[in-house]
Amino acid sequence: MKKSGIAKKVFSVASVLGLCASMLAGCGSGGGSKPTLKVYSWGEYIDTSLLRDFEQEYDCKVIYETFDSNESMYTKLQSGETYDILVPSDYMIERLIKEDSLQPIDWTKISNASNLADDVMGLDYDPDNTYSVPFFYGNVGILYDTTVVDSADLSEGWELLRDEKYANDIYMYDSERDSFMIALKALGYSMNTSNTDEIDKAYEWLLEQHSSMNPVYAGDDVIDNMISGNKALAVVYSGDGSYIMAENEDLGFLVPEEGTNVWQDAMVITKDCTEVDLAHKYMDFMLRPESAYANTVEVGYTSTVAESRDKAAKEDFAGIDSYIPDMSRSQDEVFRYQDKETKAYFAELWTKVKASN
């Protein structure tokens, strides 16, 4: 009796171990000796079938991981994780350049560089594109439900987000820089200010908004929520706006006159990268018109490849004016690197805005 009990136990332990081992084997296999490229990018930022095409074409393996904010990407890098290619935003790239974490791009290896649109090159954060290959770009605006929001109110610009007619009916973006950008622009300041008086006023603006409007600070969940029309107003990136408007016809996109953030996400190569050639091939691959077209249609963000952008604007996002953001407005700015003190100052105020009840 007892013996069979033990045998049974041994058998079950063995089978569990076997199961674990086979799972591990499944993870490990396929690595082989193929060159491997580790890419770290935003979530839902690529047509993933392209990764398989790339792997096949260059007989390599791509490990693709995603992050949900520039800051969490930076934290992960700080914890010692290494990647070959990153796709962060402008100000984060500037920071990485200043901290000497990036390798210069060898533009001679990128034959598709000529496909890039003129107005996405040479932005202030990396004026000569020494380190960055632009991938997506856009601006920030207010997505509004045309059936709820009175079109006369649109002239209020950013103050629309403090119009008590729409209290309890707005999504803000759960990000320190974007929220302060809105407050600073609404007050007529530069969003890259380090003047503490101006920052304090912006803090008051956000606090006041927090108490009178009761906004929900959302992340990517804003996409689904606005598609189903849950609230009247939402602060969104133009790319998300295009994607949402393609799904829900009752929405409009307002880029306030006071000015907004024009941003860009770009591919960069880290100092840790060993497969430099392959990394350049990857970037070149992503700049092919057909790859860029697949990405922009899948994601909704504006492609930096002119041909793909124009095709998508004509075919897939016809009538959606947020798809091609106006890059020529003088009141708009690109986020710049903040020194430590300024960043810490903003961070503390933002913590307080969110924690105030």
Binding site: E71, T75, D174, P215, D221, A347, E348, S356, N357
Partner: protein
């Protein structure tokens, strides 16, 4: 027996590496400034001083209110469920306990997303309400949503210890109580409940620990503006990058939890001595 002592060493080293060392690092971070540049450390108590600002105190108070409320709801529901389960034959009991634990096999994140699709403004519940002609309710991003998420997540941690101590109760004690003239309520209150107190305390401690330090559930069901201690800590580390302040909050939270557990353990002891 003595030569077995040596076999403890691997465990001691392991525990030092994965428990004690990180804890010491957190404490170190909490009393220094300048982030993770550990090369030139500057000691300061600034991080702890910041915690006394009213904004942060309010976060602590809110976390406690919510933590205690979810523990109380878990206790009421969990005790009823455990009592109900303990009334069945042993085989049925095993099956029912299995049913209680099954949700725990599924990732918390997934279960929370399930709540989102139920509670959201155009979710299943509201669609149903509209179908039968009622006004839709606003449930997402409220205390209600966060509480539901917490309670459904924590309930098994309450049910299992209570059920275990209910099962251990000698049936003859209950029979004796009845024989000696106690009615059903008296028997329950003075015999069954009293004997199940160790389980209740274990359940309370576990659910309290988990509810006070949670951050995923309030973030998803309460929205980004819903700040509890866990969210405060998460923000400091993930989005703001102030590891020092984040560590200081963690240390304070750890101390509070330690004190609460000690207090609850004392209740347990007093009860036993009273017997």
């Amino acid at each position: 027996m003595k030569h077995y002592v040596k076999m403890v060493w691997p465990y001691v080293i392991w525990a030092a590496l994965i428990i004690v060392l990180p804890l010491l690092l957190i404490i170190l971070y909490s009393v220094t400034k300048n982030g993770n540049e550990l090369v030139n450390i500057q000691f300061t108590l600034e991080n702890f001083k910041r915690m006394t600002e009213p904004v942060y105190m309010a976060v602590f108070i809110k976390s406690f209110e919510l933590g205690i409320l979810s523990v109380v709801i878990c206790l009421i529901l969990g005790y009823l469920l455990a009592y109900f389960i303990a009334g069945f034959q042993e085989k049925v009991q095993n099956l029912l306990i299995l049913l209680v634990t099954i949700p725990m096999w599924i990732n918390t994140l997934l279960r929370t997303y399930a709540w989102i699709s139920l509670l959201s403004d155009n979710g299943l519940i509201n669609s149903f309400l509209e179908m039968i002609g009622l006004q839709p309710l606003n449930m997402m991003y409220t205390d209600f949503a966060v509480l539901i998420g917490l309670v459904s997540d924590l309930l098994p941690f309450m049910v299992i210890p209570i059920h275990t101590s209910l099962c251990k109760i000698d049936q003859s004690l209950i029979e004796a109580s009845m024989d000696l003239g106690a009615n059903r309520f008296q028997t329950f209150w003075r015999v069954t409940f009293k004997l199940s107190i160790p389980g209740v305390l274990n359940g309370v401690i576990m659910t309290f620990l988990l509810s006070i330090s949670t951050f995923v559930i309030p973030k998803l069901l309460g929205g980004g503006q819903y700040t509890l201690i866990g969210n405060l800590i998460e923000n400091q580390f993930i989005s703001i990058g102030d590891w020092n302040f984040g560590s200081a909050i963690s240390v304070i939270l750890a101390i509070i939890i330690l004190v609460s557990i000690t207090l609850m353990k004392r209740i347990d002891k007093d009860e036993i001595e009273e017997e």
